[in-house]
């Protein structure tokens, strides 16, 4: 047993299950590399889950029964009874999506792949907090993110940004070229939300020095990319499509470059250049290093990732291999504090999902202020200890650990340290656990130890 296998399972993976640390001990980096396959994406238990397209088709079916006049607001007016029915289905859907993801987190044999999926899902956030995305956020992760995390950054970005869920979440489906006939006739217009967030959050970031004019230009290029409603015919209902009549035609200039393409290809050409921009490489490198190693990651690691991203043309598998090869990622001292999702996932891998949530899922998610698929904004969940550990939130973690200990008094905390942390369990933690006055106190100390709270 080596410390590297504990690091591979905890820092790169989602937390060791009993036996995992021994099982990967032969060659931890090889174990990580082996997970970078399409099979890993396909192992997700999606059989009973519904596609975004199907959700949108049923949404449009409900809408047909609406009594209120259609309004031009960013959220369509729907018949309240249809809306209530749709909302009931939406709640059921989000519960099923959360269950599937939580269960997969607990049981997956490719936890490094799953961590990367969640990282990118957060980078390209679609939150279920918006009315229509309640049903779409889970499907979006399965359809746009999960199958695309091993290819190029550009392919991933394109899959994410042009997925119906993102077009809806960031309003592009209702953005209309200001000089098109529909805009003049129906008082519709440009919505810059998607263009702005793609530049600010997904690609070049404000460090690139883009201006409001760049955002407006990109937003104009993006007009026309929308979601098929019933007017486009049954076949295309609920799918991403390009609608020429609402596209603002003409040459666009973004970050000093002219784009003369016509139609939907113009936005893709701009996105291509945004993905290839050096500030995108910088931003992705920093974000991945921060996620994997430390809130303030070593510059040497950021540089390695940045170079890898640039020289490989944004090849994500190459990027992960660079990460696996970097000694900075294997430093013995764990520096990342687990987010609530990471804490719950690693705990359930160790002691079982039923023990970890124990019928309290809603209370736990809510009091931890992190429920799957519901990031507060397009920025996604924060990725620093400062954001997750305060007096109130630490208290909530301690109370939760107490709840587990109270319900499952026979769990042996000493064994949990061995199984979950291996050589990452410090002498201080081992002693504190060994000297606890009761088994349940020992379990609280083990789960709340800095060793287990970090990865």
């Amino acid at each position: 047993m080596s410390i590297h296998s504990a690091i591979a399972t905890n820092r790169f993976g989602l937390g060791a299950r009993p036996g995992d640390i021994d099982a990967v001990a032969d060659d931890p980096p090889a174990w990580l590399r082996e997970q970078l396959t399409e099979d890993a994406a396909e192992s997700y238990p999606a059989d009973s889950l519904i596609s975004a397209r199907e959700h949108l088709r049923s949404f449009y079916d409900y809408r047909l029964t609406r009594s209120a006049r259609n309004q031009s607001g960013s959220e369509p007016q729907v018949d309240p009874e249809a809306a209530a029915r749709y909302l009931r289905d939406a709640r059921r859907t989000i519960v099923q999506e959360i269950q599937a993801r939580t269960l997969h987190g607990e049981s997956t044999d490719t936890p490094f792949h799953e961590r990367l999926t969640r990282f990118w899902s957060n980078h390209f956030t679609v939150s279920a907090r918006k009315f229509l995305t309640t049903t779409l956020a889970g499907a979006y992760e399965r359809e746009a993110i999960r199958p695309n995390i091993l290819g190029t950054f550009e392919a991933l970005a394109e899959a994410a940004i042009f997925h119906p869920a993102m077009l809806i979440y960031l309003d592009n489906w209702q953005s209309v070229g200001p000089s098109t006939r529909p805009a003049e006739r129906r008082e519709l217009g440009l919505n810059e939300n998607l263009a702005r967030e793609v530049m600010e959050l997904h690609t070049v970031t404000p460090a690139s020095g883009y201006t409001q004019e760049d955002v407006t230009e990109f937003a104009k290029a993006l007009t026309g990319w929308t979601v098929g409603n019933p007017r486009f015919g049954q076949m295309r209902k609920g799918e991403t499509l390009f609608a020429g009549p609402i596209h603002e035609s003409g040459t666009r200039t973004v970050l000093g470059k002219r784009y003369t393409q016509s139609g939907g290809q113009q936005a893709k050409a701009i996105l291509h250049d945004l993905c290839a921009h050096p500030d995108t490489a910088k931003s992705v490198a920093f974000k991945l290093a921060r996620h994997m190693v430390a809130d303030e990651p070593p510059q040497s690691l950021i540089s390695k990732l940045e170079v890898s991203f640039r020289t490989s043309g944004g090849d994500l598998t190459a990027l992960y291999e660079t990460l696996i090869d970097a000694p900075e990622a294997w430093e013995a001292e764990p520096r990342k504090v687990k987010s609530p999702d990471e804490l719950l996932t690693s705990t359930s891998r160790l002691i079982g999902l039923n023990r970890t949530l124990a019928g309290d899922a809603r209370d736990v998610f809510e009091s931890f202020a992190q429920s799957p698929f519901t990031a507060p904004s397009p920025e996604g969940w924060p990725d620093t200890a400062e954001a997750w550990i305060g007096p109130d939130s630490l208290n909530k973690r301690i109370e939760w650990a107490g709840r587990i200990a109270e319900r499952f008094p026979t769990l042996d905390a000493r064994q949990i340290l061995v199984d979950g942390l291996g050589d990452l369990a410090t002498e201080t933690t081992r002693q504190a656990v060994a000297r606890a006055e009761s088994g349940s106190q020992a379990l609280v100390l083990a789960l709340m130890s800095p060793d287990f709270q970090r990865r």
Partner: protein, 378 residues
């Protein structure tokens, strides 16, 4: 809940203060003034809470109006919903006021986007809240009751959140041992030390369970208790969910307004003497349609209602303009018009109640041309 000490709140806030530009000495509650912002998420039907006594109302929403005999007359052409008895009394005591037909700059009808604008008072994508910017401008501390810090309080100013325990609190001995285990690890040690000084008993119910009456009362009581002591934060915030009344509105709204009514009383009781120097502003992301829909509810609208309460409020009156509900007066032919600018209302309160400088209000806190509303504060 045991009363929180001044030290407790200051240490609690210190955790949030690392990024603060405000010198701590200046931030430590130099004022006895309290400002509490309450978001009624989901869009409260302002026209049901404060009912215009006119010809149009009966025609537009006769099917969902409470019995007229039960409505509480304000004697100025408006009547309060029957559930708002204590608010009615506060109005009579000049400790509550109303601004009808008020709206943020947001003109679409999505809760999600509307609440973002309500909390940031900035263009889409703004990442800090206006309430946090007010903290920075005034050198004050901010506190939210809830499991997470709301967007309105996010930013560089010193703000934190507090929530009652969901599960049982850990035994003191376990906390003692954890403190030992965290020794030398400030990421966990400092928050634990602060957490240990927080209240342990009472307040054990869940903020999200027990129905709106219990939830609202509990959240408002908690913020009052936390903000009552000398040196407590000057700015507080509470979110009350559940106001999206598309169907069967009369019953749904009855319990929510009851909860709000009891919550205001609980807040007043918890604040004690501090109530006299408090201003509470309660509002939603937008209002609801002027007319009832086909399922005894109302749909997303524009102009809403702001309720002001507290001893510092110039109460017993309505502020701002009333556009009326005549067909030509409605926004897009369907909503109460946004006759009063919420940014102006907030500027008026921040200027006259918390003493924030007009130039800072216009440049930092609530940029844009809104003029502060006058005479909201005594």
């Amino acid at each position: 809940m045991s009363a929180l000490s001044r030290r407790t709140l200051l240490t609690l806030l210190a955790a949030a203060g690392s990024a603060s530009l405000v010198p701590p000495a200046f931030a430590q509650g130099v004022s006895d003034r309290r400002f509490i912002f309450v978001i009624l998420r989901g869009a409260m039907d302002g026209l049901a809470a404060l009912i215009p006594d006119d010809r149009e109302t009966e025609g537009l929403r006769g099917a969902i109006l409470p019995a007229e005999s039960a409505q509480l007359d304000l004697g100025n052409g408006f009547r309060l919903h029957p559930a708002l008895t204590d608010l009615h009394a506060l109005y009579g005591a000049s400790e509550a006021a109303f601004v009808h037909a008020v709206a943020s700059p947001y003109r679409d009808r999505s809760h999600f986007d509307g609440q973002d604008v309500l909390e940031t008072m900035g263009p889409a994508g703004t990442r800090d809240g206006w309430l946090n910017r007010a903290l920075q401008a005034g050198g004050m501390d901010g506190l939210a009751v809830g499991y997470a810090l709301p967007l309105a309080l996010k930013g560089d100013g010193r703000a934190t959140n507090w929530s009652p325990p969901v599960f049982d609190a850990a035994p003191a001995d376990t906390l003692e041992r954890l403190a030992d285990l965290y020794a030398g690890d400030p990421v966990f040690a400092a928050p634990l030390a602060m957490a240990r000084s927080l209240p342990e008993q009472g307040m054990s119910a869940n903020l999200s369970r027990g129905g709106p009456v219990a939830q609202y009362r509990q959240a408002l009581s908690a913020i009052g208790e936390l903000m009552a002591p000398d040196g407590a934060p000057g700015v507080g915030m509470v979110s009350l969910d559940g106001w999206d009344t598309h169907a069967n509105q009369p019953g749904v709204l009855q319990t929510r307004l009851q909860g709000l009514n009891q919550g205001v009383v609980a807040l007043k009781d918890a604040l004690g003497d501090r109530w006299a120097s408090t201003c509470v502003v309660m509002c939603s992301e937008f209002g609801r349609t002027a007319a009832a829909n086909g399922t005894r509810g109302t749909d997303h609208g524009t102009g809403g209602l702001a309720i002001l309460a507290g001893g510092a409020v110039a109460g017993g009156r309505m502020h701002g303009d009333w556009p009326g509900l005549a067909p030509g007066a409605l926004h897009e032919g369907r909503d109460l018009a946004p006759a009063n600018d919420l940014a102006g209302l907030l500027k008026g309160v921040l200027r006259d109640h918390l003493g924030l400088d007009r130039a800072r209000l216009d440049s930092l806190v609530l940029p844009g041309g809104a003029r502060p509303m006058d005479d909201l504060i005594i």
